[in-house]
């Protein structure tokens, strides 16, 4: 266990346990409990008071999962039949965490979807068995509270959030019949009009269903194994949107190609999709599936929202080099572009400021290690595993939402001690005949810049006569101002006293933050206007009411200006 930012020291409280069979661990959802399996037993410890709570004798546990309120621990081991052919022991075990007693065990042959899904307050727990979904209430696993029966039901996802709970179920299609995703509200399953919404589609073998946090809509990524048109080796994906009020739509993606990643934002009003043949496009859509903002094309295949939802990271991992783009989603501004080469794992810290990227086995066996970044692009901490050891899994301790407050976004890079190693710039290969010749700029892909950086279409239009006149006037004014300023600086005598304080701060305050610069400029403009009004009042002119109000605001503006400049 390692302490997180800002210390990064190894935690002295939790001793390092080394064992060859330590293969699985998990935190509870609020971070207070930690369970791990070391090949002989499964141990649960409490993180807050550092005491060992329980220990279960499960040598072959491969997966562990806590229930949302830490009442139940579910463990799964591979299903084996005994030698004489009778059915093996049930391999999905449920234990009560508080008392350490065994609750119930089920036979679960498949690893996929092994864990029963709990609702967030644990009143419901659901399991997919054959053609039905069984629901248990209040962790009472001995009686099945209700069942949802659908022929050939393959997958289901419980909605997050409070009651009433909804279930999204997926049934693949047989010959002639399409596959469909249906939304039901618990416990109304029977009857022809029980479904809240229904969407059928043909091109689907596998389906990923993503609920948004408010449980109002599901995004369904339907993927086929084989692409009949032959465009992609990995099959074809389509993105569907189903809302609980019955609306459904296919999300039109402007670029052809596979869909790499889709994420909801934390306020459930928008979702971001990364799609298209490389270089992939990323777009934010609203609930009507209209594009809101387009990030252009780039080397990316994943999107991650920060826990508070105000920062979005577009990253290219896997077969891409690891380029990340950190965006502020409120103002759609790019914050930084760090590069985390060879990363296999990415996670936001629950405080919404730090990012963990790690290179883990068995995906990559070389250069295992992890790096902790600040979202402005600087590496804060780096740990490389010694060369013959492997790193299997890294994760943050989770915390409940709301424990860390959301902070305002800075654009300047946070200072760090770890030097940012510059990745080698890959030069394109030139055959011997073309070396040492002037470089012709030929691009493989059409790069599209993000929406707010696209050049205005009026650039190539010749300016109209009035526009040209205005431009010339503007330039003349600027030139005159420059001259006046250079004339005025040697003789400061005629300037009256109250003007001296703003004048002295006229020197260009160079802060790295363009936002603060803008604000300072605006404040200075307002102060100048007030000075002019004061001069007019001094010469005896009758001022209007709003002009008088402006003068009164001067002290407040001065205070603000000082604060901003001190804050730099």
């Amino acid at each position: 266990m390692v302490n997180g930012p800002p210390h990064f020291t190894e935690s002295t409280v939790f001793p390092r346990e080394s064992g060859k069979n330590c293969k699985v661990y998990t935190f509870s959802k609020d971070g207070t409990l930690f369970a791990w399996g070391n090949g002989e037993k499964v141990n649960i410890i409490s993180v807050t008071n550092k005491g060992l709570l329980h220990s279960f004798d499960l040598p072959k546990a491969v997966c562990l999962e806590f229930s949302p309120k830490n009442t139940v621990l579910a463990t799964w081991q591979p299903y084996t039949t005994s030698k004489d052919g009778t059915a093996g022991i049930p391999n999905l075990q449920l234990y009560d965490v508080k008392t350490g007693t065994w609750l119930k065990s089920f036979i679960q042959k498949k690893t996929q979807n092994w864990c029963p899904s709990w609702s967030e307050d644990e009143t419901l727990c659901a399991r997919n068995v054959n053609n039905e979904v069984h629901f248990f209430e209040n962790n009472n696993f001995n009686t099945i509270a209700s069942k949802l029966h659908l022929q050939k039901i393959n997958d289901f996802v419980l909605s997050p959030g409070p009651q009433p709970y909804k279930v999204a179920v997926y049934v693949p299609g047989s010959k002639g019949a399409p596959s469909f995703v249906r939304l039901y509200q618990y416990p109304n399953f029977a009857g022809p009009h029980a479904a809240l919404a229904n969407k059928s589609f043909f091109k689907a073998d596998k389906v990923t269903m993503l609920w948004n946090k408010k449980a109002t809509a599901v995004l369904v990524i339907a993927s086929t194994d084989v692409d009949k048109t032959g465009a992609s080796y990995y099959g074809e994906q389509t993105l569907h949107y189903i809302a609980t009020n019955g609306e459904s739509a296919v999300v039109q993606l402007p670029k052809n190609g596979p869909i790499y990643d889709v994420v909801w934002n934390s306020s459930s009003t928008e979702f971001c999709a990364v799609y298209g043949f490389m270089p992939a496009k990323a777009t934010i859509f609203n609930l009507k599936c209209d594009p809101v903002f387009d990030f252009g094309t780039g080397p990316r295949n994943a999107a991650y929202y920060s826990p508070h939802g105000h920062i979005l990271v577009l990253a290219g991992f896997g077969n891409l080099r690891g380029q990340m783009e950190v965006w502020d989603v409120k103002n759609y501004k790019l914050i930084s572009k760090p590069v985390a080469s060879d990363s296999t794992y990415f996670a936001w810290c629950p405080d919404g400021e730090h990012i963990l990227t790690a290179t883990c086995a068995p995906r990559l066996r070389v250069n295992n290690g992890y790096k902790i970044w600040h979202y402005t692009g600087s590496i804060l901490h780096k740990y490389d595993v010694p060369s013959n050891a492997e790193l299997w899994q890294v994760s943050w301790q989770p915390f409940l939402d709301g424990i860390f407050p959301a902070k305002t976004i800075t654009y300047q890079a946070v200072p760090s001690e770890v030097p940012n190693e510059e990745p080698k710039v890959a030069t394109a290969y030139r055959p011997p005949a073309l070396r040492n010749k002037p470089i012709t700029n030929s691009k493989l892909h059409e790069e599209e810049p993000p929406q707010n950086m696209k050049s205005q279409s009026g650039n190539d239009k010749p300016l109209s006569k009035t526009a040209l006149k205005n431009q010339r006037k503007h330039e003349a004014k600027k030139a005159a101002k420059q001259e006046a300023r250079s004339d005025r600086s040697p003789d400061l005598a005629p300037t009256p006293a109250p003007q001296s304080t703003p004048r002295s701060t006229l020197s260009q305050s160079i802060s790295g933050d363009p936002e603060i610069d803008k604000k300072i400029k605006n404040l200075k403009k307002k102060l100048k206007a007030i000075e002019q009004l004061k001069e007019q009042a001094a010469t005896g002119k009758q001022l209007e009411k709003n002009q008088l109000e402006k003068i009164q605001k001067e002290t407040a503006l001065l205070q603000e200006l000082e604060d901003l400049e001190l804050g730099i």
């Binding site: 589609f201 043909f202 339907a222 296919v250």
Partner: protein, 191 residues
């Protein structure tokens, strides 16, 4: 295009002049699941009218009110139909429109591209058999040219068994006369 009313011995020579067009048309029929050449010629005529309108407008003076008014109207119609993109609102782009672009806007191709059907031919069957709706309206015309805002709302009809309605005639019959009939038939087949 020449029509082929000539004595037999010169058929092959006439064929050489039109073989390219025949190939192109056949490719389009295969790709978009069309029924006959007439469906292609119909779209060709539509495209020709659009292009001639754009051509005429381009000969007018740049500032003439007619060109501005009719040009804007034409471009708006093209964008609404989905033939031109947002950043292509100029008359020159209208002259660059092609047959495949128009054929892409048919409901038959849209149903296939949106994953509601397994192939273009399957899409045509589904449309004709009244399974598809656009918005709230059931559409059973495969050559319905879909507008851009309607594209999102192509879905299975509410009364269709694929869209949540009651099962179709065959399935209902099978449910009504279940396995008894089936075992009888099997016994007959075995004999």
């Amino acid at each position: 295009y020449p029509t082929v009313y000539v004595p037999i011995c010169t058929y092959t020579y006439i064929y050489m002049t039109i073989i390219e067009r025949l190939d192109q048309e056949l490719k389009l029929i295969g790709e978009y699941g069309l029924k006959n050449k007439r469906e292609i010629w119909r779209i060709q005529y539509l495209l020709a009218k659009i292009r001639s309108a754009a051509r005429y407008l381009l000969t007018l003076d740049e500032k003439s009110p007619k060109r501005i008014f009719q040009g804007e109207a034409l471009l708006r119609r093209m964008v609404r139909q989905g033939l031109l993109g947002e950043n292509e609102e100029k008359l020159d782009y209208v002259l660059g429109l092609t047959l495949p672009k128009l054929l892409e806007r048919r409901l038959q191709t849209k149903v296939f591209k949106l994953g509601l059907a397994k192939s273009v031919h399957h899409a045509r069957c589904l449309i004709r058999q009244r399974h598809i709706r656009v918005g709230k309206q059931l559409v059973d015309i495969p050559s319905f040219l879909v507008r851009v805002d309607s594209e999102k709302h192509i879905d299975f009809a509410i009364t269709s068994p694929f869209g949540g309605g009651r099962p179709g005639r065959v399935k209902r019959r099978n449910l009504r006369n279940p396995k008894e009939k089936k075992t009888e038939e099997e016994a007959e087949n075995n004999e």
